[in-house]
């Protein structure tokens, strides 16, 4: 055991810092041009545009420590916006279960950020109980295509997506976990209707997606018919790890301290307020521990293990920490956190603090609610039975 970075890792860290500094966005320049250029240059570094992809598919083949360094450095720098759906959620499924033809067809566009994907998992009656999904895919008599009917819900960014990867039911005669099939479906076609859902913070990011008699060619099926539950489960573990957001919370905590220091209290600032100070301290302690829980998980991943039950610990702790940062932002805003609408009032950060807090309430619901994560740990780690 050693807590310090090796000299190789230190070298890597400075290379990453150099890269991020050299390619920072210049205010006023064309954002989209910078974004695409950034990914191109990152690729030339040796697969830095797809850090989590295996070497076989063009990834950098980093050690866990290198991944950790990358997360830390990029959380503090301005990097171009990116979406996880194709890159981190679909790509691993294609790499593990897709045909070579599917890999060649879809992975390059995902890597080039040319195609936006969304995830068709949850349904109105399949939330925490995802296996209860009812969207049907019926194989045509000539065996050339599936006909898909059903409704997906909470579909993030479906309104800008080109494709959706969907869990569908091809057989309902057995256990719920059987008869689930993984299909890739273009969004821009007849029979697909996207309805916005406005959430607590007032934002439109999730949707309801209705599929009516949508024809999907069989070559768009990933893996075997009826076996997709296994594929999806692995994917959910990846999703959970990604949702913990530890590096981002470390940066957010520093920002929160700066904001609190700008709120005057008597001769000092809110940072001198004993109860606020204690809450910040408790948060920091939890974050320090969770940071190392993540590192331990990375280390076991390096030994070749798939993300397992520890991904549930990270999701639980990580999302609760993110919520606490948001809550303390609202508390720092004091009376001004209640202000809503276009006009900033009072402390600058208070504007947006409340909508951030409200939006954060979803963190312990999506990607497997906290109650479900605790069930996973109880069952798979502690060996407790219902």
């Amino acid at each position: 055991m050693d807590i310090d970075l090796s000299s190789d890792d230190q070298l890597f860290q400075s290379e990453v810092r150099q890269f991020l500094a050299d390619n920072a966005y210049v205010a006023g320049s064309d954002y989209n041009e910078w974004r695409m250029n950034w990914f191109r240059l990152a690729r030339e570094q040796g697969g830095w545009d797809v850090p989590k992809w295996p070497e076989k598919f063009g990834g950098p083949g980093w050690t866990p420590t290198q991944h950790y360094i990358w997360e830390q450095e990029t959380a503090q720098a301005q990097t171009p916006w990116d979406l996880p759906f194709g890159l981190s959620m679909l790509a691993p499924v294609l790499m593990n279960y897709g045909s070579e033809e599917q890999q060649q067809r879809f992975l390059p566009d995902i890597r080039d950020r040319k195609v936006n994907w969304c995830q068709g998992y949850s349904e109105p009656n399949a939330g925490s109980d995802l296996a209860n999904l009812k969207t049907t895919a019926e194989l045509s008599t000539d065996g050339s295509h599936y006909v898909v009917n059903g409704t997906k819900i909470w579909t993030t960014l479906a309104h800008i997506a080109d494709w959706i990867f969907c869990l569908t039911r091809t057989d309902d005669s057995g256990k719920k976990q059987e008869g689930v099939t993984f299909l890739l479906i273009p969004m821009k076609q007849e029979g697909i209707e996207v309805k916005p859902i406005i959430t607590l913070g007032g934002a439109h990011s999730v949707n309801m997606v209705h599929l009516t008699d949508v024809k999907v060619p069989v070559e768009n099926r990933v893996g075997e018919e009826g076996k997709a539950w296994t594929y999806a489960k692995g994917l959910l573990a990846h999703e959970r790890t990604g949702l913990a957001g530890i590096s981002r919370s470390l940066v957010a905590l520093e920002k929160l301290k700066r904001q609190a220091s700008s709120v005057n209290r008597g001769n000092g600032s809110l940072l001198d307020d004993p109860s606020y100070r204690m809450k910040l301290a408790q948060l920091e302690v939890d974050l320090m521990a969770t940071e190392f829980t993540e590192l331990r998980s990375l280390a076991s991943a390096a030994a070749g293990a798939e993300p397992g039950p520890e991904s549930s610990i990270l999701k639980l702790k990580g999302t609760e920490i993110q919520q606490r940062v948001q809550k303390l932002t609202v508390e720092a805003g004091g009376i001004y956190s209640a202000a809503w609408g276009a006009m900033p009032v009072g402390h600058k950060f208070a504007h947006g603090g409340m909508s951030g807090y409200l939006a954060s309430r979803a963190y312990t619901i999506y990607g497997g609610a906290s109650e479900v994560q605790r069930d996973v740990i109880a069952k798979n780690v502690l060996g407790l039975k219902k």
Binding site: N125, W154, T199, P274, S337, A338, V345
Partner: protein, 374 residues
């Protein structure tokens, strides 16, 4: 000891409950939220006609002469309806300020108009640097031969844009955080030099930043406040906290009951969610915290009615518990509703937002716990 409502209080409670169930469906409320004024003039008139606006105003000024316990009964029911009308600003805050600080002439002029709804008033007490301290006042009132000139900036003034007048706390003498030297002034919202920058709050109500730039008012616009401006303001804040706490208790009741109902309907893993013990226990906690808030609300209200501002410490305890438990109940109502809890479609979202705003008004839970601890 007796914690039962009197016959009059029961009638009042029933009448507000009926109004809420008849006049306040969520879809209608959300349309009103989007209107420019942000509340319904028709409802305002109804509230005047039914005597609610004058519930705590003495009978000699055409009110019903009720006390904080009567206001509690009213506010708890209004809280269940998420009512948008400026009842709290005008019939609680401004009415209390005039009751405790107004001269006979001022009371004669204004209280009957608050009671019949013909005038809508509000209280401008908060300032940015003060955070939650009522005695931290920079806004100045300078005396001159004709009266006073006011200069300063008041924050988060409830319903200022639709108000006819506001009662403003300003400093006549003393340093920024001294309790002495603060006085209250009645200022017409049309006064020269007064600017109102209005905006909605997250709960759908309205507030404003108010700037006072050489606003001239006559000497008669200063509230008499024989016990001192700060003491009056503090008593108004106590009434305000009691009223907000009652409203919050009403909102919490809706949240825990809606959650219990939803988990009985919603099935996952072939069972209603309500069958899962972990969720049952969470709802038990929500229910217990609601009951605790209600108990402390009764305790604080009755202490204030019978012992006045000797009950200050209990009022701090109440505002702490209401803020903390309101957020606990709101967050768990959302969590147990799952994705649906995140939508604006269900009413729980709106009750949760109201509880968040209530925590931030007249001092949040941390502030009052610190005051309570002393």
């Amino acid at each position: 000891m007796n914690f039962d409502l009197s016959e009059e209080q029961q009638l009042l409670s029933d009448s507000v409950a009926r109004f809420v169930s008849d006049q306040y469906p969520l879809d209608q409320r959300q349309l009103t939220v989007l209107s420019e004024q942000g509340f319904s003039s028709e409802h305002w008139q109804t509230m005047a006609e039914l005597g609610w606006l004058g519930a705590s105003i003495p009978e000699q000024y055409q009110g019903f002469g009720g006390n904080q316990a009567d206001t509690m009964v009213l506010m708890e029911q209004l809280g269940k309806g998420l009512v948008l009308e400026p009842f709290f600003a005008s019939a609680v805050l401004a009415a209390s300020a005039l009751k405790y600080g107004g001269s006979d002439t001022q009371q004669n002029e204004w209280l009957p108009q608050i009671a019949d709804g013909s005038k809508q008033l509000t209280l401008a007490y908060a300032e940015e640097q003060a955070r939650f301290d009522l005695h931290d006042v920079i806004t100045r009132a300078e005396q001159n031969p004709d009266g006073f000139t006011l200069n300063g900036h008041k924050s988060m003034v409830l319903h200022a844009a639709s108000a006819d007048a506001m009662i403003v706390s300003a400093r006549v003498t003393g340093a920024q955080t001294e309790k002495s030297g603060i006085e209250l002034f009645l200022v017409d919202t049309n006064a020269d030099g007064l600017t109102i920058n209005a905006f909605p709050t997250v709960d759908g109500l309205r507030a404003a930043e108010v700037k006072l730039n050489d606003v001239s008012i006559p000497a008669a616009a200063k509230l008499a406040c024989s016990e001192g401006g700060f003491n009056v303001l503090n008593r108004v804040a106590i009434d305000g906290i009691l009223a907000l706490a009652a409203e919050a208790v009403g909102a919490m009741e809706v949240l825990y009951k809606d959650t219990v109902a939803y988990t009985q309907e919603r099935e996952q893993f072939n069972h209603p969610l309500s069958n899962f013990q972990v969720l049952q226990h969470r709802m038990v906690d929500m229910f217990m915290e609601y009951e605790q808030c209600k108990s402390l609300l009764y305790r604080a209200t009755l202490e204030v009615v019978q012992r006045g501002d000797e009950a200050q410490r209990t009022v701090h305890a109440l505002k702490y518990l209401i803020g903390k438990n309101g957020i606990f109940i709101g967050e768990n109502a959302v969590q147990l509703h799952g994705g649906m809890g995140m939508t604006e479609e269900l009413r729980i979202a709106h009750y949760f937002k109201r509880l968040l705003v209530i925590d931030a008004q007249f001092g949040n839970h941390d502030y009052h716990l610190a005051q309570f601890a002393g």
